[in-house]
Amino acid sequence: MKDVLEDVEGWVERGDHVAIATVVAVQRSAPRPPGAKMAVNDRGEVSGAVSGGCVEGAVVEIAEQVLSGSEPQLVHFGIADSDAWDVGLPCGGEIDVFVERYEP
């Protein structure tokens, strides 16, 4: 977690706006525990991860909404039959991710 926050500090120093996504809850088998973080800046750069790569794409989109002014969001990712590869977790777990702005 510390290494993500180090990246964030670097981004903030050069004036970027940053959104942080944090895993707040997991059910069954999930790759990253509560507290795992992913940061996204307004240049589109990403650091860290909230899963094993399954839902990061979707989280970036939400982070971008938050960066352009929307409220913090709590998002649930489960196993979605039709788009399991897009926003589901192939491992069979479910995770809740909270996405908010990082205030320097």
């Binding site: 926050l5 707040v24 809850a25 507290g35 409220e71 205030e103 320097p104």
Partner: protein
């Protein structure tokens, strides 16, 4: 500095965030000394957040409690090794490899040198009482291994250790040495309850002989205790989780 930024720089702290409902996004930072800053929206939530923060920063896992997400940060656990003996050097190596912070303590300056313990965060030449004071006391994330083989030193360290918050106190020695130690410690005023906190003989039953194998057995026990496990073989365990997600 924002609460998020202060949290990012803290050694041990909890950052509580409202993740749903009326006060969405509000934060409360709880510091290691129990003091807090910020507000979650009202006194009831602050009280709840503050109690959860204080509990979980020491339990060392982040958790969602109703609408409050309690995120925690904490330093690597400390392993205080008493006795600047050969086993101690191997134990420091093993602890370091596992991501822990080992310290070596021994008043015998001839043995307690940084050169002999390159993996130790610090080598403290002092009696247990002064050494603990110098290292900031024994908190709930401080594990203790007593390896001196010298009754005076062992007893002095154990006496302080059992009166502390340490979750693990291991002591090396044969079963016969344990029996003698038990008698001495009872004479010094320790109770059966105190003595029950001492893991002796130290380590898991790996049957190892070398310093390295012995160190592995001690480190394995320490990790098992930290995770609330007994340390048996997973292949012989009946179900249950291999590890706790988020622990």
């Amino acid at each position: 500095m924002s609460l998020q930024s202060e949290f990012a720089h803290a050694e041990r702290a909890a950052l509580v965030t409202v993740v749903s409902g009326e006060h969405l996004g509000k934060k409360l930072l709880v510091r290691a000394d129990g003091r807090s800053e910020g507000t979650l929206g009202n006194e009831e939530m602050d009280a709840r957040g503050s109690a959860a923060g204080e509990e979980l920063m020491w339990a060392e896992h982040s958790e969602l409690r109703d609408e409050l997400f309690v995120d925690v940060t904490y330093p690597p656990p400390r392993l205080m090794v008493f006795g600047a003996v050969d086993y101690a050097a191997a134990l420091c190596r093993m602890a370091r490899a596992a991501g822990w912070r080992p310290f070596v303590i021994d008043p015998r300056g001839r043995f307690a040198t940084p050169e002999r313990f390159p993996d130790a965060e610090e080598v403290v030449v002092a009696w247990p009482e002064q050494a603990f004071a110098r290292l900031g006391g024994i908190d709930r994330a401080t594990y203790i291994a007593v390896l001196t083989h010298d009754p005076k030193l062992d007893d002095a360290a154990l006496e302080i250790a059992v009166r502390s918050d340490s979750p693990y106190i291991g002591a090396m020695g044969s079963r016969r040495a344990q029996a003698n130690r038990r008698e001495r410690l009872i004479e010094r005023g320790l109770t059966d309850e105190d003595l029950a906190r001492i893991a002796a003989p130290i380590g898991l039953d790996l049957g190892g002989l070398t310093s390295e194998e012995t160190a592995l057995s001690i480190m394995a026990e320490v990790v098992a205790v930290r995770n609330g496990r007994h340390g048996g073989r997973l292949s012989e365990a009946r179900g249950g989780r291999i590890h706790e997600v988020g622990a």
